[in-house]
Symmetry: C2
Subunit: 278 residues, 2 copies
DNA sequence: CGAATATTTGAAGTGGCTCAAGTCCAGTGG
DNA sequence: CCACTGGACTTGAGCCACTTCAAATATTCG
């Protein structure tokens, strides 16, 4: 039956299906740009012209499967990666091949805005889950930043928030135990998912395997598994097929010593600064 | 005798001493700004007018003793900290008071350029050693960035390099053992000192105690001590009174799996990008 | 259904931690 | 000039969080 439907479609609607797909890709790009703009507006005040400059960016939409490497260390890049859907990871690799993930980017993030000012990264970027991305030319982003100083500041600000998150991860890797690290990460990603409008903090689709989680938390797969099971009992954590659900979110936040200040979600915090730009 | 000299100075030269001091402070500021400019020029091409804008920045010079906290988490800041001499640390603090240092800044670094776009940091900043700093108003830096887009990019680029270093620390905390972490850190700081012109990579003044080193490496003081002693045998490391000397630097780099690519010292790497800005 | 990937479990090993002294050294006051 | 003090460094012994290795059991997907 399913086969029949497919044939029907292929036979009767092929030309219009191509159109539908082109239209769909364009829609996806717009969806991504809208998410990205919303992300910027969380922390930056932008005029109509400046918002338009973001929404008018063009890029190539692509679906990428888990594990696909998008950027390799020391290789120049000319496009920024806008995450439309899914999960993109920044990673560093040791000589023996072991990996450490140093950032995770969700829908609406541009995962290497860094490479606009520094086009040869020291890190790699891979799809951590099956994802939809758009590749946006650095030149276009740069042109927008030069034309609108407020956009340059918004981009700069975005990379600073990224660094703030990275600093928190560093602190946790250095000073927190496995349960705290896992709990903190789940709280953070949950919060970011909720803010991005793609899930609730206590119920979201992460798409990571436990092995990838291990690479993120600086642990082994085995120990991640044991820690997940411990949190299962402690806070009603369920982690199946990349879907994360938490019964007792406050308890999770307590175990993770989680305080979302470092995510810079408080728009007023930067208020005094906007005045002098616009 | 020493007392006598002091009295003589105080009695006879007091008025001119004040002048001398003012002049000296101004000299120190200029020295710091020159170092900072040199740092920017490592990675960014700047016109004469843009260089001038940096050198004309004004700020208050201050001597700060080890341990002095300069910025506290969640507290708005209005000045950036330019390191003229010494060592400034960015840190995060756990609930139980244990610290993790997430960045070290040496002469010529501005240790919180981040707070220009994001004036409420999630981290703290302290003097890790007795240091000389200059406090430069965010407004002045921002004005320069708005007037000269190339400066905005240079600042942005500087925070991205900072993030690249942070990502490397994260990777090492997550995946490297104590000896590797220590060796890598010493290689990195040595390289940066050498580039900044304040020491050789195998002989420089760090100014950190082993306890602070522990907070940087995510270890305990005891274990840092044992690791230092191990490297003493392996590579002829001497670590006394904050002075670091290494007999066999290549061996240290090998133990630390050190590759300085992430420091973005290769000016040509960003070449393609300059064209489109200037 | 079969192959590959992901999760779970057990048992033994170890790198780094904790706790507890003790030494070295620079600075301070008498 | 010395005794005192506090900070930094060093050392030892026992312990534990996490790793390693090895294998069994889901789960996903073509």
């Amino acid at each position: 039956m399913r086969l029949f439907v497919f044939h029907l479609r292929a036979a009767l609607f092929w030309p219009s299906y191509v159109e539908w797909k082109a239209c769909c890709l364009s829609r996806l790009l717009d969806e991504g740009l809208n998410r990205f703009l919303a992300r910027l507006l969380l922390r930056s005040e932008l005029s109509v012209a400046e918002r338009d400059a973001i929404l008018r960016l063009r890029g190539r939409v692509a679906e990428v499967p888990r594990g696909r490497e998008l950027v390799l260390p020391e290789r120049p890049v000319e496009q920024a990666i806008l995450v439309i859907e899914g999960l993109i990871a920044r990673f560093d690799q040791m000589n023996d091949g072991r990996r450490q993930i140093t950032a995770l980017h969700i829908a609406g993030d541009v995962s290497d805005l860094h490479s606009v000012p520094v086009p040869v990264p020291a890190w790699g970027i891979e799809a951590a889950a099956n994802s939809t991305i758009a590749l946006i030319s650095h030149d276009d982003i740069r042109a927008a930043a030069v034309k609108f100083p407020a956009l340059a500041f918004a981009f700069w600000r975005d990379t600073v928030v990224d660094a703030s998150i990275l600093a928190k991860w560093t602190a946790n890797l250095g000073r927190a135990d496995a349960a705290t690290r896992l709990a903190h990460l789940l709280c953070e990603i949950g919060t970011r998912m909720e803010v991005a409008g793609v899930g609730g903090r206590d119920d979201f689709s992460l798409g990571l395997t436990q092995a990838q989680l291990a690479d993120t938390l600086g642990l082994t797969t085995v120990h991640v598994n044991r820690t997940v099971m411990a949190l299962r009992n402690l806070v009603g954590l369920s982690f199946a097929g990349g879907r994360v659900q938490v019964d007792n979110w406050p308890a999770l936040a307590h175990i993770g010593a989680y305080d979302d200040g470092y995510l810079m979600l408080d728009k007023d915090a930067a208020a005094q600064e906007w005045a002098s730009i616009s």
